[in-house]
Amino acid sequence: MGKKNLKEIENILAQEIAIILSVDPSRVIKDIPLHEMGIDSLSFVELLVFIEKTFNIKLMESGLTREDFRTIRSLASSIRVQSE
């Protein structure tokens, strides 16, 4: 996958979260914490696996904090930094 800009990464993540949570993509808000969207441990790991497969980044043990996962925007930003 070629280099993506921040907006593209955000959209990819939002689409995947919509699939994981079985909700309409329009209902995924990019500015709220992931746990407030209804993501639990299992769906979060599904998201991490998706990130590894899509962006080739292993986030499980990467030492990212709650702040990095705070919103889709902050997660997209961390992915962008790590993939550089």
Binding site: L21, G38, D40, E61, F69
Partner: protein
Amino acid sequence: MSKINFSRKKRYLSGIDWIIHALDYITKKAIGTGNTSQIVLELEGSLQEDKFRTCLDSLIKKYPVLYGRPSRNYNLAPYWKIFSKRQSRLLPVKVYHLEYINHTNIFKLLEQKANLKFINEQEHLFFHLIHAENKTYVAMTFDHRLFDALGAEAFLEMLQNEWKNKDNSFCDKNIIVPAESAHLCNWRRKFIAGQQANRAFLKMSKNAPPRVLPLPASLNNLGFRFKVIPFDKYQTDLILENAYKDAGYLMLMPYVLASAIWVIHRLFSKRNIKSGDYVVPVSIDMRPTDKVQQEVFFNHVSFLFFIIRSDEAEHFPFLIKSIKQQLYDQVKSGLPSNFQEASLLMRILPLPILSNIMRLYLKGQIASFSFSNVGEGAYRSSNFMGKKILNIFHMPRVPVPPGLGIFFHQFQNKLNVVLSFLEGILSDKEANELIHTLQSRLGEK
């Protein structure tokens, strides 16, 4: 390709349904009563019995599936035989009035009801209402062959809808239509999934049998005992914060599973039981979140399987790391969906043979103990028939073997933990100690 024709009288069972039937068979063989569970609503105020019965009678008349029983088709696919609506009957509801709230007495009564047998192969559900001062406990005892835990909660939500005169018909159509993969077809895909699931089981069986508590010499008619610990909002937030600090963001499930294994390991060490590794199946719901209210009946779960070496079990940070890694690897390899797919092949086997095969990998055992994934329940209303819900908790009877389980459940952002154990495998002192140690390990005490 063998195509299954739809019939209003048949609901073809999925592979997971058939596995649950096998667990029911194993448990009935061992202790006489099958794989049943009980869900309890603790309500503020006195629930109107008449209204409850009216709503229940009205609801069950629409769902003859509640009186079905397993059968097998000429094409070998097992199904749930659904009788006509005319044959439906009223569900048993027994009412108790206690003079004052004595938690020990109420709990003993609930425990006793959770252990009752169904009277025949067509009874899968009954209710008990316990009135005590200004509270009502609604206990629904159910057959796991008909509902999984979330399905049972969703059924209570249907009852609540009935009370509110809301339409429940959205769930009706899914009763008779089997999942696409329930057809006896796509053999190649099922075999590949089976190959992958088999590899996981072979890995699990390396050091078989797993570490288990010895069952009592005589099992006939033994019941289950329960310890239920409800956590308030403050305690739940503390546990969530500890899970974040020790396991990471959104890692509550690995954290509570690690805590459960850690305390079970202490128990085994005290008993001087040293052989084998810990093998823990974790049931997870496979329904998309928005489908729970439409797929109420039967089983929609799959399993993750965790293997913990005994020397890993006493080091909490290692334990968490190992569980997180196994969780990641299993999700990445698609084990839950592979297991679901592969189990479809098992439906060809009669229950006595399937139950033997299930115990083959782990040399006669099934697991060290059972555990279920933490998640918000399917009952979403804050009240039940006009009464505020103070708590919802489950009292699941664990299949025997192993006869031991730890279950976490969340209702309105508050956690409950339930220890379920077969009479005689733990003393009351051990059970209390286990639950207190678990509270400390979770950082709540």
